[in-house]
Every structure is written in C-alpha cells, then in structure tokens.
C-alpha cells in the first residue's frame, strides 16, 4: 500500500542559518515526484527530512498521519520500516565482501523483529526480487565485484524486498554511464507502473526522471520555487530563476532534457 507524506512549515538550521524551509509539501499516496534543483538547493536534505534521518528544528513531517518530527528514536525507527531508501554511493561501503544475496537480504532486516533471524520465506522473497531484476546468475558474487549499474540494481532490489510503502531515491543514476543511467531509470519506471508505490526521487539530470514521474518539486536556496505537473514546471521560468541562466527543456523519446538555451 502506498503512503502519504506531508510537510508543513519545516525548517532545518545549521550554524544559525536556515538551509531548508518548506512551507507546505503534500505527497498523496501513489505520487511519483521528482526533486530537482541546483547544487546546495537542499534536495538531499529534503529527502533525509522526509525519511526522518534529519529531525527538523521546526515544523511537522507527517508520514501517514504520524508526525515523525515528534517521535522518539525507537518509534521513529519502527515507522521507517516502511520506507525504502536508496542513498548516494558515498553513503555505503561497497568494499566489503558481502555477496549480492546478502545485500538484498538486508532489506528484510527491519521487517523482522530485533532478535528474530531471517526465515526461509524472507530468502524466497529476496530471490524473487533478484530474479525480477535480472541478477539471478550473480547472486553469489560479491557486491564489490559488480559494476556501478549492477550495484544500483542490487540496492533497488534491497529496497523492494522491504515491501516499502514509499521509495526514496537519491540520485540513483549518478556515476553511471548513460546506458546504465537509462536502464536504472527504466527499472524505476516499471516498478512504479507495476506497484503504484509513492516515489520521491532526487535527480540532477531531468532526463533521468522516468516518464511516469508526473510531478516536479524544484528547490532553490532551500525553498520550493515551483511544485506541480512536470510539463508546467518545465514550461515555466522557474528553472531560469533557479539556475540563473537561460534554460530550455526539450523532450526526446519521452525524456525531458534541460540545458542552457542555445544562442544560435
């Protein structure tokens, strides 16, 4: 089942400076929202606030009517079991000799109680997602021996075995070649079409947002500059304000490419 997310008057302060200020952000169940913006606009911070990794200095973050911001660590952790999170590459240790299957099985950890080991049914589910993402032949290989694109597939499988109500992805295509970028984009697109799960996806490159990403949240200096249907946001002048240069968005084969406007 998809989940609803609601942020209201959220402020994050660092060294006395407000780095994120979200007046109001409503993500109804089944929404696929892309979060875009310049470097330092607050995209990753917003994602971490949404999954309760960063507690706001002010405001409420409601996850299915429960305010994450006022919960204690134990209850917050229990609620987060329904969040599938795929971080940027720098946030996981890819050098350890975990097998691919071990990494995917990590997704079942929070599903089971603290002292309860994983069961046969958990591993059946793990193998189901390994098969589904085309990794069957590599299940006993180590994670560290896989290519960046394959590692990203494994992390998607790890998030999906959790059976999450909401999926949060932080630039899943970064550091990948363009073939892999589009493969990962297509996998996310398929997942959304098949499950209608709520998805929040941060991306620097607009062309990497899957076709089914119907809503765009544009952040600028820690605030929402534009929020609406993808076509409207890309057609507005908000992108030019955020990137401080003349930009245009062109659509090629269903992908939206945003680039500096040509002078010719």
């Amino acid at each position: 089942m998809s989940s609803r997310l609601s942020l209201s008057n959220v402020k994050i302060k660092r060294s006395g400076r407000t780095i994120l200020h979200i007046d109001n952000l409503q993500i109804p169940p089944g929404t696929f929202a892309g979060i875009i913006g310049t470097n330092g606009a607050g995209k990753t911070t917003l994602l971490k606030v949404c999954c309760g990794l960063i507690k706001p200095n002010q405001g409420s973050v409601e996850f299915d009517d429960t305010n994450l911001a006022v919960l204690g660590p134990w209850k917050r952790a229990n609620l987060r079991k329904r969040i599938g999170y795929i971080p940027q590459a720098a946030e996981y240790n890819s050098e350890l000799p975990f097998t691919l299957r071990e990494v995917v099985a990590m997704g079942r950890i929070s599903v089971r109680a603290l002292l309860s080991p994983l069961r046969r049914q958990d591993y059946e589910y793990v193998d189901h997602w390994i098969d589904k993402l085309g990794l069957t032949n590599r299940r006993n290989q180590t994670f560290r021996s896989l290519s960046g694109g394959e590692q990203q597939k494994v992390l998607i499988a790890r998030a999906m075995v959790q059976n999450p109500a909401i999926l949060m992805l932080d630039e899943p295509g970064s550091n990948l070649d363009f073939n892999w970028k589009y493969q990962i984009t297509d996998i996310i697109d398929d997942l959304y079409q098949q499950t209608n799960i709520t998805i929040l996806m941060v991306s620097h490159e607009t062309n990497l947002l899957p076709r089914s990403c119907g809503r765009i949240v544009l952040l600028h200096q820690g605030k929402i500059l534009a929020d609406g249907p993808a076509e409207e946001v890309f057609a507005s002048d908000a992108l030019e304000i955020a990137y401080q240069c003349p930009v245009e968005t062109v659509e090629v084969a269903g992908r939206k490419y945003t680039a500096i406007k040509s002078k010719v």
């Binding site: 971490k48 969040i83 350890l96 000799p97 975990f98 929070s110 603290l114 290989q141 021996s145 998030a159």
Partner: protein, 268 residues
Amino acid sequence: MDSFFYLVMFAGAVAGASTGLLGVYIVGMRMPFIGTCISHAAMAGIIFASLLGIENPIWGAVAASVITSMSLAAIRPEKSRLDTNVGLAILFSLMLGLTFLGMGLVQDSRSEVLGLLWGSILFVRQRTAVIITVMALTLAAFTIVFNKEMKVLLFSRSIAAATGVHESFVYCLFLALCGLTLSVNLKMIGGLMIFSLITNPAAAAYQICRGHKSVVLTATLLGMLSTVIGFLISFYSKKLPTGACVVIVSSAIFAIAAIYRHIAGKED
C-alpha cells in the same frame, strides 16, 4: 608442560578470537583507530584506579573504556559535522594525555604500569582466563543475536537508519562490548598492541573471503592463531614481550593473505 602454559595458551586463544571477531566490525566500519582509543582509555582507567587505591583497578579500565565507547556513540556525523575518525583522534589524544599524566603521578611500580603498554603473559591468572572467556562468549552471542542488524550497520549506517533498523541502539551495545572486551584483554595483550590484533586478522579475512559468515569465522580463527603463535614465541623466548610477538605474527598473517590474494588472483 605445566598448567600455567596451558592456561596462557587458552587465554591467548580466547583473547585472539574475541579481538579478531571485534575487528570484523571495527575494520568493516572503517574505524580501526577505535582499538587504540579505547585501550588507552582503559590504561588511563587502570592507572587512575590504582592511584585512587581501588582494590581491583581493572574496574577503572572497564569504566573508562565504556564511557569512551559511549562518547563515540554520541558522535552523530550528520549533526555534529564531526567525522567519527576525527572524534576518535580527539578522544585518543585526551586518553593518551591522561595515561601519561597518571604514569607521571605513579610513584611505585612504574614498570607494572609500563607493562600495560606492551602486555605480558605473566599477568594471566585463572580468574583472568575466566573473565576473558565470559566476555568472548558474550561478544559471540551478541554477534549471533544481532547478526542481521550488524550486517546492515557494516554496509551503511544511513541505510540502516533510514529503513527502520534500531541502529543507534545496536551500535551503542556494540561499542560498549568493544570497551569491555578490550579492557579485559588489556593486561595480557598490551594497550599499544591490541590495536593491530583488532585490525590485522580482520583485514586479512577481508582480503581472502567471500560472504560475511566466512569473514567472521576466518578473522576469529586468524586472531586465535596470531595470539597462540605469538604467545608460544614469547613463552619459549622467556624475554620477548607478548604484545610485540603477537603483533608481528598478526602482521605476517595479513601479509600472507594479501600475497595469496595477489598471486591467486582471487576473483569475487
């Protein structure tokens, strides 16, 4: 062979196994410095407990190492802008300062205090063997009971935290056990030397193993081998410090593992 020999070998094997097992997590979390930091805290604890006239100064080591471990657990990189390793370095320098301050204040038995740095099998008593065995069994039980949580903590604390694993709780428990294990093994292995016994067997296992279970078993075994061989050398030489022998053996084991991986071209 007298009973003291067997007692030393047994204690050494258990100490090696438990530090080797600890190393899997400490090396995997990329914070090998924790061994030096906690062992220096334990040394400072023993010295100050002696100065205060506490009957069994090991309690000073236990208290100091657990407090240091908990201070480390309190460092949240995303909030404090302080990397765990930088926090470790700061705590380490403080503990080093306290250790030397205490050593300066000790009037008698300075050689015994210095012995804490290098370790000695002469410190092994039946009671020591019982304590380190109980501690090793507790650590083993922890790694079995919290196996799934520790795996995801090793892989990514961010993922663990974001997806509802009680990572702070498990991490705190682990660090507390870390402090306890290191403090009970301190007199035998030595504060300066215990660092490499944590790092080398685990680093060797990470070189040659595939899969978490295989790393855990191999690091435990290599830790055991390091201490047993190191103790044998120390025992028969009658004058070589235990800690130094153990360190050299564990370094040699790491070198062999690295060379093996290179020569065998071991594929993952």
